[in-house]
C-alpha cells in the first residue's frame, strides 16, 4: 500500500467509519454464526458468546429437515431469481434506452407511469384474483412475472440514468455504418450498458432471492417453498429453535453474500455512473 500523509481528522473519520461498519455488519453476523453452532438451550438464551462446543450437526439437521426442504427451496428461489433477471434486464435495458433517447409525449407519460410503479404497493387479493382468472396462479411463470413487475420501475430508472452517460455519437456512427434499430441496441448500446447491468443483476438478485411476502402469498404450497419461507419452520409461539433458525439463516445468506463479495466493485461503479443525472 502506498504511504500517504494523513491529517488526524481523516484518520479519526476512518476509525469511526470502521467502528460503525463493524458494529452494523460484522457483529450481527458473528452473533448469528455463534448461535447457529450452539445447542438449542444455549442458543435460545440469545447471548453474544462463542459456543463452548461446536454443534455442526445443526447445519446437517437444517439441510435434512422436512425431507431436504431447503434444497427444494434453493432450487425454487434460484429459478425465480434467474428468470426474473432475464425478464428484467431484457425489458428494462430496452425501455431505459428508448425513454432516455426519445423525448416525446409518450415517453414522458411512460416516465410518470414509472414513478407510479415505484409508489403504488402490490395489493394481494386483486392480484390473486387476476392470476386465478388467467389460470396461472401458483405457477413459476406468475411468480416470475410478479417479481419482474415489482422491480421493473427501479431497474428502468437505473438504465435510463446510465444512458445519459453514453454519447449519442456512437449510435450515429452505427447508423451511418448501416446498422438497423435492433443492431444498434444489441451491438452498440447493450454492451456499453454492462456496468449498470451488473448492478441491476446483483441488486435485483438479492431482492428477489430474499423476498418473503410475495412468495408467501402468490406461490404457496410445499413444493413451491422459497428460501426465506424455510425460516418459519424454526420459530413459533411456544417452541423456538434459535440454533436451527440461525443455521438456516447462514445457509440461505451465503449465496447472496458470495455474489456480493465477488461483484462488490461493479455494483458501486454502476450505481455511481448511473447517479449522474443529465
Amino acid at each position: 500500500m502506498k504511504m500517504k500523509k494523513r491529517n488526524p481528522g481523516s484518520l479519526a473519520a476512518e476509525i469511526i467509519g470502521w467502528i460503525v461498519a463493524v458494529s452494523l455488519f460484522v457483529l450481527p453476523f458473528l452473533f448469528v454464526a455463534f448461535n447457529s453452532l450452539k445447542d438449542r438451550r444455549g442458543a435460545n438464551k440469545l447471548n453474544f458468546t462463542p459456543p463452548d462446543v461446536f454443534h455442526w450437526e445443526n447445519y446437517v439437521e437444517v439441510i435434512r429437515n422436512n425431507r431436504y426442504q431447503i434444497l427444494t427451496a434453493f432450487k425454487n428461489s434460484a429459478e425465480i431469481t434467474f428468470f426474473s433477471l432475464i425478464v428484467l434486464v431484457g425489458c428494462s435495458a430496452m425501455a431505459g434506452y428508448i425513454i432516455q433517447r426519445r423525448r416525446t409525449r409518450v415517453t414522458a407519460a411512460a416516465n410518470k407511469l414509472l414513478l407510479v410503479g415505484l409508489m403504488v404497493p402490490v395489493s394481494i387479493l386483486p392480484t390473486i384474483w387476476l392470476l386465478r382468472s388467467l389460470n396461472i396462479y401458483k405457477t413459476l411463470f406468475s411468480m416470475v412475472m410478479i417479481e419482474s413487475a415489482l422491480n421493473l420501475p427501479f431497474t428502468i430508472m437505473l438504465y435510463r440514468g446510465f444512458m445519459d452517460t453514453i454519447p449519442t455519437e456512437l449510435e450515429e456512427a452505427a447508423w451511418i455504418d448501416g446498422c438497423n434499430k435492433w443492431a444498434v441496441f444489441s451491438r452498440i448500446i447493450f454492451p456499453l450498458l454492462k456496468p449498470v447491468t451488473s448492478t441491476v443483476i446483483i441488486l435485483n438478485a438479492v431482492t428477489i432471492f430474499n423476498d418473503f411476502t410475495n412468495p408467501l402469498y402468490f406461490y404457496p404450497s410445499n413444493a413451491n417453498v422459497t428460501v426465506q419461507l424455510t425460516i418459519y419452520n424454526y420459530i413459533s409461539q411456544f417452541q423456538s429453535s434459535y440454533n436451527l433458525l440461525f443455521a438456516d439463516v447462514i445457509l440461505i445468506t451465503l449465496p447472496m453474500l458470495l455474489l456480493f463479495i465477488i461483484f462488490n466493485k461493479r455494483i458501486i461503479s454502476g450505481m455511481v455512473s448511473g447517479a449522474v443525472k443529465g
Binding site: 438449542r40 438451550r41 435460545n44 431484457g90 384474483w129 386465478r132 405457477t139 408467501l216 402469498y217 413459533s236
Partner: protein, 421 residues
C-alpha cells in the same frame, strides 16, 4: 431475445403441471408453526398404513401474518383440504358456514368430542372441527424444588400466593417470573383468572356479548386487573423485557419460583431440559380470594375440513381416524400432552407429565374447570396485551385498565356487528 424469453417461459410451465397429474389424491393439511407438527406427522404416518389416506403437512406462519394468509386463502378459494386454525372467537372470522364442512352430518365424529371443545367449534347449530392437540390451561407453573427448600405449600387463596411470592423473593429467587418481552404472555394472568370472574358473575360472557355487563362495573372482573398491580413487587428485575425463552430458563433452572403461563410451556421445558426437570414443575390455578379455586382451560385449536375442496370424503375419513383411540395413542406417545384431550372416553397413557397427570387432572376430576373467555365469548379486545402490560408495569391503575379494556372491546363488538349502543 424476446422470442427466446417467451419460449423459455412457456417451457417452464410444463414441469409445473406434470406433478399435478401424476398420483392419486394426497390431502394437504396446513398447520401453523405454533402447533408442534410432530404428533400430527406421526398420526399421518399411521393413517397411511391403517386407512390408506395420504396427507401432506404444509407449515404456514402463525400469528398475524398467518391470519392474513388464511384470510387470503379463503378469499381466493385456495384453502387446503384440511386447515388448522383457532377455535373459539377467531373461528367466527373465517365465515365457517361457507368454507368448512358441518360435522353434525357425521354423528360418530361429533359424539366423540368433549362438550368444552364442541362449544368452541360450534357456530349456530353447526359443529366444524376436531381438536388438533391436547387442551391446556392458563395457570401458574411453579418450581417444586424451591417450594420444598423453603417449605412452602400450594397456596389455597390469592393472599397465600402473594405470601409465597414474597417468601421466594426474600430467599433470593424471583418471586414471580414476568415475560412481558413476549407480549402475548402478559395476558395469561388476566385470561387465566376467568374462572374467578365467572364464579363472581356466572352469566358474564352472555351478558358481556349482550352489552349489559362491563369489565369496569363488574367487581370480579376488575379484580383480575388488580391482581396485576399486587404482584408487581415480586417480578424478576427484567420482567418488562424478558422473553418467553427467558421465562423457560428462569423456571427450569430454579431462578424463579412462579410463572403465569400456558401449560404448553411444559413441552418446551421437556425438550430443552429433559424429563427430570419438567417433572419438578408443578401447576396450580390462578387462586381466588376466597379459596374457591378453579382452573381456566384453553381447549385445543381445531382441524377443519374445506367444504369446497376436491377431497372432502377422504378428509372426513382422516379426521375421523385422527380422533380414534389408536391415533390418539400414537399422538400422545410422540408428543406428551399439556393437558387432557378433548375426546370423550379417551384415557391418557401413564407417561404424562407430573404437572398434567396429578395437578391438572385433579381440577378436572373435581369438576372445577372453566373454559377461557375467548372460547365462549366472541369479543376480545385487540389491545388486550398492551393493556395488561400497562397495568402490569404500574403505568395505569386496575380501574383504568378495566375501563380502557371496555373501550377496546366496544370497537371489536362494533366490527363484529354486535349492537352495543
Amino acid at each position: 431475445m424476446k422470442k427466446l424469453v417467451a419460449l423459455l417461459l412457456t417451457l417452464l410451465l410444463v414441469p409445473v403441471m406434470i406433478p399435478a397429474m401424476a398420483e392419486g389424491p394426497t390431502l394437504r393439511i396446513a398447520v401453523d408453526t405454533n402447533a408442534s407438527a410432530d404428533g400430527l406427522r406421526a398420526v399421518i404416518e399411521k393413517a397411511r398404513e391403517d386407512i390408506g389416506v395420504n396427507v401432506e403437512v404444509e407449515i404456514r406462519p402463525g400469528g398475524d401474518e398467518g391470519d392474513n394468509l388464511v384470510k387470503a386463502w379463503i378469499a381466493a378459494g385456495e384453502v387446503p383440504d384440511l386447515l388448522y386454525y383457532n377455535s373459539g372467537s377467531k373461528l367466527l372470522e373465517m365465515d365457517p358456514a361457507n368454507n368448512f364442512v358441518d360435522l353434525t352430518a357425521y354423528p360418530h365424529i361429533v359424539d366423540r368430542l368433549a362438550d368444552s371443545f364442541k362449544g368452541a367449534v360450534t357456530v349456530g347449530d353447526a359443529v366444524y372441527g376436531v381438536p388438533l392437540t391436547s387442551s391446556q390451561a392458563g395457570a401458574i407453573l411453579y418450581n417444586k424444588v424451591i417450594y420444598e427448600e423453603l417449605g412452602l405449600e400450594v397456596p389455597a387463596n390469592w393472599q397465600e400466593f402473594l405470601d409465597n411470592c414474597k417468601a421466594c423473593a426474600d430467599a433470593g429467587y424471583y418471586g414471580l417470573i414476568g415475560t412481558f418481552g413476549t407480549s402475548w404472555s402478559s395476558q395469561v394472568l388476566f385470561l387465566g383468572d376467568y374462572y374467578n370472574v365467572v364464579t363472581g358473575y356466572p352469566t358474564f360472557a352472555a351478558d358481556f356479548e349482550a352489552g349489559t355487563a362491563k369489565y369496569a362495573i363488574t367487581p370480579s372482573a376488575v379484580r383480575s386487573f388488580e391482581k396485576y398491580t399486587e404482584v408487581i413487587p415480586y417480578y424478576n428485575p427484567d420482567y418488562v423485557v424478558a422473553t418467553y425463552e427467558d421465562g423457560v430458563e428462569y423456571l427450569a433452572e430454579a431462578k424463579g419460583a412462579h410463572w403465569i403461563i400456558l401449560t404448553q410451556a411444559l413441552q418446551n421445558i421437556d425438550s430443552l431440559y429433559g424429563r427430570e426437570t419438567v417433572d419438578e414443575i408443578g401447576v396450580f390455578c390462578v387462586p381466588a380470594d376466597d379459596g374457591n379455586n378453579g382452573l381456566t382451560v384453553w381447549v385445543a385449536n381445531g382441524i377443519y375440513v374445506n367444504k369446497n375442496g376436491a377431497h372432502v370424503d377422504e378428509a372426513i375419513k382422516f379426521i375421523e381416524y385422527y380422533i380414534s383411540d389408536a391415533a390418539l395413542d400414537v399422538y400422545a406417545n410422540t408428543l406428551l400432552a399439556n393437558g387432557p384431550f378433548c375426546i370423550k372416553g379417551y384415557q391418557m397413557g401413564d407417561n404424562a407429565y407430573a404437572a398434567v397427570a396429578k395437578d391438572m387432572q385433579a381440577y378436572f376430576d373435581a369438576g372445577t374447570t372453566y373454559v377461557a373467555q375467548e372460547f365462549e365469548c366472541a369479543i376480545k379486545g385487540a389491545n388486550c396485551e398492551s393493556i395488561c402490560i400497562e397495568v402490569g408495569t404500574g403505568a395505569i391503575s386496575a380501574e383504568e385498565a378495566a375501563a380502557i379494556y371496555d373501550d377496546d372491546c366496544y370497537k371489536m363488538a362494533v366490527q363484529l356487528g354486535f349492537n352495543w349502543d
